[in-house]
């Protein structure tokens, strides 16, 4: 790893061989403020021992619902989340594609909807765009609180909703700041309700 990467504050480990992910963590002289790991079912099938080792060294795990169930052996996502957080990560993000994403931390849970879209042109890269939007917001704000992670997940979801509108990175490359703000406003409107309780 280049020396210039040594001062990294926020580490996003893309979906790769767990032993490579572990090697990256071990090469860092100082522990980053937040280590996020993306992984998948393939590594659970083929490199579970290494995956278990790297899970002990990270803060946030990013998987989809089927992977959370496979990793934990639990069907209920609440039970799955508890079991996975016992394996190492303090935070767990479960991506459910068109059904949104869940963020777990201790007994707290946050749900980010996916924007109902008329056309999904190409879903390729939506998960990576979500991860990029998430860690990008965390790195920009340098705030790793649960509250700010909620915002990061909404921003990741907003970015992913653009990604699927055209092939590859086409849509992302033409975005302006106001497009992103407008999209985030649509997420706000989507779930906002006002019930006055006694």
């Amino acid at each position: 790893m280049p020396d210039s990467y040594q001062d990294c504050e926020f580490l996003m480990l893309g979906n790769l061989l767990p032993s490579v992910q572990l090697s990256v963590i071990n090469q860092l002289k100082n522990k980053p403020k937040l280590v996020v790991l993306d992984t998948m079912n393939f590594w659970m099938d083929s490199a579970m021992a290494d995956l278990e080792k790297v899970l002990k060294k990270i803060d946030v795990l990013l998987v989809n619902d089927a992977e959370a169930r496979q990793l934990s052996g639990q069907y209920s996502l609440v039970s799955a989340a508890r079991a996975i957080m016992e394996m190492g990560p303090k935070y767990l993000i479960i991506k459910k594609g068109e059904h949104g994403a869940l963020l777990f931390n201790e007994d707290n849970v946050f749900f980010a909807p996916a924007l109902p879209l008329e056309v999904v042109f190409d879903p390729t890269g939506a998960g990576d765009t979500f991860a990029g939007g998430f860690i990008g917001h965390i790195a920009r704000t340098k705030d790793i609180s649960f509250e700010n992670m909620k915002s990061a997940i909404i921003i990741g979801s907003a970015m992913a909703s653009f990604c699927v509108e055209k092939f590859g990175t086409t849509r992302l490359k033409e975005l302006k700041r106001e497009d992103i703000d407008d999209r985030i406003r649509r997420f706000q409107d989507l779930t906002k309700f006002d019930i006055q309780l006694g």
Copy 2:
């Protein structure tokens, strides 16, 4: 239909033969403030002509995601909603089970999450409990605005989340007002986030 039902302000037509649902509407001398219709794939297969007739006379249609796709012939739920609203109902609620529910009206959309539950003891009756919570809130507040329908959907979702915790109506019958308020608070916490936009 008994005379004492003639002054009904809010009509909830349960999932039944569309010709029976239509007959109920036709027996009413005055149009209710809001007519809600529950239906299912079985009637789409076996009595579509009658279902199309009753759809023209209602305000809110309640179906699940597979049924919305079948009724409209559209895969995207946004496209399905637009096509279904052209068939009659001004409002469409699409129930997605453990993935929540969507409310459509013209170009507006609201998403109510389902509460992530550790144990679903028995899902029987969850859809009817949702419908009951929804129309119960509307009838109590007598407010048929889109904003109040959002609240009604959250309350329906909260009631459904109790229903599945025990067999039949057991859990619903033991509920106190504070249990319901606490549950609604969990729905509020589940999706609330705070992003300041420029």
